[in-house]
Symmetry: C2
Subunit: 236 residues, 2 copies
Amino acid sequence: MNAGRTARERARAELTQEIKDEARRQLALSGAGGLSLRAVARELGMVSSALYRYFPSRDDLLTALIIDAYNALGETTEQADAGVARLDVRGRWLASCHAVRAWAKGQPHEYTLIYGSPVPGYQAPTDTVAAASRVPLVLIGIVRDADTAGTLSAPADVRPLTSVLAEQADALAAAVAPELPPQVLISALTALTQIFGMLSFELFGQLVGSVDPSDEFYAASAERMADLVGLPVSPP
Amino acid sequence: MNAGRTARERARAELTQEIKDEARRQLALSGAGGLSLRAVARELGMVSSALYRYFPSRDDLLTALIIDAYNALGETTEQADAGVARLDVRGRWLASCHAVRAWAKGQPHEYTLIYGSPVPGYQAPTDTVAAASRVPLVLIGIVRDADTAGTLSAPADVRPLTSVLAEQADALAAAVAPELPPQVLISALTALTQIFGMLSFELFGQLVGSVDPSDEFYAASAERMADLVGLPVSPP
DNA sequence: TGTACATCAGTGAACGCGCGTTCACTGATGTAC
DNA sequence: TGTACATCAGTGAACGCGCGTTCACTGATGTAC
């Protein structure tokens, strides 16, 4: 039976999870910089030194939370995209954008953990990169599908890329979507910064007094960004 | 003479400044959440309780730093705008955008203080609003000048605003630029979130591996956002 | 199935450090007559 | 110009609290024969 080594192993897996859950709860109170192993242990009814059986240091716990957050957001977004007919690229785009926002508003402290200011003294290891790429890859995948289907329209007013930017776009394309024209990739990146820029403004309180609540502002901008990357209006 | 009460008052003004300067220096090391009165006092060769003659609490010091940062950024931006011929609205727009970035890159920790994640447990008082409005008002002023001069072009693909968004835009227009069409104001807000979205991505390390350094990406987006709000291409 | 040993989880004390804020105080600077 | 008093800046000790991490240890769970 595979439950053979379980009593121990299962307990370990469960407690690891409980530690992360409690830590996530505490992010809301004190932020990533103030995350305290002792407080987590206290809340779990353990002694603080016991946590070192599960995470070698505070920073490792933080890293685990960051990767979990990127993956949760990535998965939600991938599912939203997958829920729309492949050819309806604009529908996929909008669904993905709204999934990102819904997740961010649902767990604002995890959003802050990954898209807020860096935690002072904490250096993120490179393991986070794969998880962090999931949302960008969803959006790029949609644009690529539109391009492949030949429905992507090049907006009239697009300027040629300057030299360094063209090189960067080429390198990025090579790594991520070789068939895509570099200008399109840069447009997608603009759209991406727009999306997260709005979310950060909203969640960090910068929109209070202008467009707050910002549901419709976000929706309008998501449409506008779909235009900007050249997605067609209706399903063919 | 106005130096009459000086010895005391001048010393007070100078020390207040030195405390803020040292606190700013420490933002780089420990972030806003970790700003420590004791550390500031130590560095200044004072005893920690002495700081209470200057700031009633840690949070008041933080508030002073925040207002200073907004004002410094606001002033830089206003000056950049003022340095370009009034009729060259696109030139003014681009100069302002680049001034914002130059300031942000020059004092990343102050940028983080005002546009990064909120400090846990700190509630910003409403005094910050006026200072925080300076950059938005510069950009809106440029758009308004273009509108007044009749050089603002309405892009072809603008959608009508949805109901709530239209109301919010009207309210915002009433408060800030009554003559401006609401759609234009929303476009300006989109441009604003784009600008700060890019800066946050850049400064918080989210662009590493894609368009880094991002000078040209930023420049291209600033142009693109000028298009989006409808600024004419060349000085008339 | 039963015993001997190895692995692992959790304990509790300790190290060495940090913090914000209060309070009674000394001594210098400023003010009014 | 000189004295008496009020204001203010800075001191040093203290309160009460927090933190991450290490280490020798007990006792339970798992493994090999």
